[in-house]
């Protein structure tokens, strides 16, 4: 929200003034600064009673949450998920599973009440149902023309991120799904004249999503899918509805940012086929190292396996100081010219 409302630069500067390096992830910088000045679009988040973090996305969250726990003087629980280069080893499973027991003890102690197993099942089912619906919504963009674009997905994503496990998510995505299916039936595309279908990789460049969507639309290009929004429902296959507790360990650990580059490339290739992609737009995100580090390799793998072109945009998801409009514009225009040339216009 801070990024999309273009409040990132101010907050990042505040964090840098506090002594944090500009190389630190801009989510961390924004949040750390936000807490001290009650900044951002909603004047800061409510004071937490406890903090919980999982390092399945990166190591930054660990230090970030330690900082915040110290600042708010609240207890912190860290769920440590080992990196999964290829598979998911038994030791890793036991290791994460055991921490879930500790997690429950932590919650019971902090909340002062006992864990309710039935409630867990209920929330777990709602959460899974929410993910299924979200995936179903994303699936509709496999149609030509795509009824919505990745830019729309960046927006609708808010619910699965913040309200997962509630009815609201299910109601909202059920409605959205009906709407998208209706658009498909009527042949209504996200952009007026979809000719080229692209895939977005990495976190959105939040402050520039509108500019980017217009830029691509002006080339009749629709970003029909992305690796980011789909990551919020990417580990459903590991979840066992009748055994949430055990399968949770695996689902948390095997998310997109916690797997090896070959595995990531495999998922990207699947998306290329599923959504009939003509080109990939990669956001090399100055903030998010775990997301950006394998991109050159993934680019090479895609080039070799599917022979489709890819574009690298250097930017940052929140910090607009890392965005050079005319440079990005030239690269997008050139990339689109290449795609048009390849597809014979």
């Amino acid at each position: 929200m801070i990024g999309a409302s273009k409040m990132g630069v101010g907050l990042c500067e505040t964090a840098e003034g506090m002594g944090y390096s500009p190389d630190l992830c801009s989510y961390a910088r924004s949040d750390i600064a936000c807490a001290t000045v009650n900044g951002g679009p909603i004047g800061g988040l409510p004071r937490p009673d406890m903090l919980v973090c999982c390092n399945n996305i990166c190591g930054t969250v660990l230090k970030w949450y330690e900082v915040q726990a110290r600042y708010f003087k609240v207890p912190l629980f860290i769920l440590d998920t080992p990196f999964c280069h290829v598979g998911f080893a038994d030791e890793a499973k036991r290791y994460v599973r055991r921490q879930l027991d500790e997690y429950i003890l932590f919650l019971e102690k902090t909340c002062g009440r006992k864990m309710d197993n039935n409630r867990l099942k209920e929330v777990g089912k709602l959460s899974l149902e929410g993910q299924r619906l979200w995936q179903a919504v994303l699936n509709t963009t496999a149609n030509r023309p795509a009824p919505m674009s990745a830019f729309d997905a960046f927006f609708h994503l808010a619910l699965i991120v913040t309200l997962r496990g509630t009815r609201d998510v299910i109601d909202y995505y059920s409605q959205l799904l009906i709407k998208m299916k209706d658009r498909v039936a009527r042949g209504k595309g996200a952009i007026p004249n979809e000719k080229y279908r692209l895939l977005w990789d990495n976190i959105p460049i939040w402050p520039r999503t509108r500019w980017l969507s217009q830029k691509f639309a002006s080339h009749d290009a629709c970003l029909v899918a992305d690796t980011y929004t789909s990551a919020w429902c990417g580990t459903m296959k590991y979840i066992d509805e009748n055994n949430f507790f055990d399968s949770m360990a695996e689902a948390y650990t095997r998310i997109y940012l916690n797997i090896g580059i070959d595995e990531m490339a495999k998922q990207v290739l699947e998306m290329i086929d599923k959504y009939q992609i003509d080109g990939i737009v990669m956001h090399s995100n100055r903030s998010c190292k775990p997301y950006s580090i394998g991109q050159y390799d993934i680019q090479k793998i895609i080039e070799k396996e599917r022979g489709i072109p890819s574009l690298m945009i250097e930017a940052d998801m929140v910090d607009e100081r890392s965005f050079a409009e005319s440079q990005v514009e030239t690269r997008i225009d050139a990339f689109m010219e290449v795609i048009k040339q390849r597809k014979g216009r």
């Binding site: 050159y296 030239t330 050139a334 010219e337 040339q341 390849r342």
Partner: protein
């Protein structure tokens, strides 16, 4: 058919006119503050030199950073596609192009028809571009045009490690203060740009024959440094700086 190409870069503005696949002429001026005016001026001046009326030009394509300010262009295209077309026009067997302009450097691979197969542009910043050289020339109080010849006298190129233009400039200043000779410093600067370009070339997978285009191609010292890094000798046409404009004019001929 007579067509024109206009390439407005961050430092210089170029125009070229082609008639039935023959280059009639080309011209370069400084872009200065007003890109739109620069585009007009270079175009009008060139037409005058060639004794052509504006009505004789059937199609015009604009490229470069100022491409959208050329109001009279029939179409705008990016430098990538124009440099590929220009290099192919001047030298049909070419398969790769290394272009170093004012604020961008690029490596492009083309197919036998001059169509772009793949390209990579400099990322992060202006390190490894013409602007970088310009800043260094100023710090060394050397004319930009003389950098190339001077660097050939180097016996032991200095090491310039910073990628940031501003920091590299202070590195250069401290080398001057230490009494390092100019030729070595300049050769060091060329090597530092060459190694940036080298990694780009590797990423895109360049294949010979390679041509070098853009203003920096006029710098013999840099071309030598690049040749050493690449292990391939790039050819430099005398039209290197106007290559993008030539490509634009050539692509204009293909417009419907």
């Amino acid at each position: 058919m007579i067509t024109a190409g206009i390439d407005i870069g961050s430092i210089s503005t170029k125009a070229a006119v082609i008639a039935d696949s023959k280059l009639l002429g080309a011209k370069v001026i400084f872009t200065g503050y007003n890109a739109e005016q620069a585009g007009k001026t270079v175009y009008e001046d060139l037409l005058q030199e060639l004794h052509l009326q504006p009505s004789a030009i059937q199609k015009t394509v604009a490229t470069g950073y100022g491409r959208n300010s050329v109001k009279f262009a029939d179409k705008t295209l990016t430098e990538i596609i124009c440099h590929a077309a220009g290099a192919h026009f001047l030298n049909p067997p070419v398969r790769s192009i290394i272009d170093i302009g004012g604020q961008d450097s690029k490596a492009i691979v083309v197919d036998v028809n001059g169509n772009v197969g793949n390209f990579v542009m400099n990322d992060k910043c202006a390190a490894g571009t013409g602007r970088f050289l310009e800043v260094m020339a100023r710090a060394l109080e050397v004319d930009l045009e003389n950098l190339g010849d001077l660097s050939l006298q180097a016996d032991h190129p200095s090491k310039i490690s910073s990628l940031c233009t501003v920091f590299a400039e202070s590195e250069v200043i401290s080398l001057i203060a230490k009494g390092e000779n100019r030729a070595n410093i300049i050769a060091g600067i060329h090597e530092s740009i060459a190694s940036r370009v080298f990694s780009m070339a590797n990423r895109v997978g360049i294949v010979p024959p390679v041509v070098m285009t853009g203003g920096v191609a006029k710098n013999i010292g840099f071309v030598k440094a690049l040749e050493k890094k690449l292990g391939i000798t790039p050819t430099v046409s005398k039209y290197a700086q106007v290559n993008g404009a030539i490509g634009a004019a050539d692509l204009a001929a293909g417009l419907k």
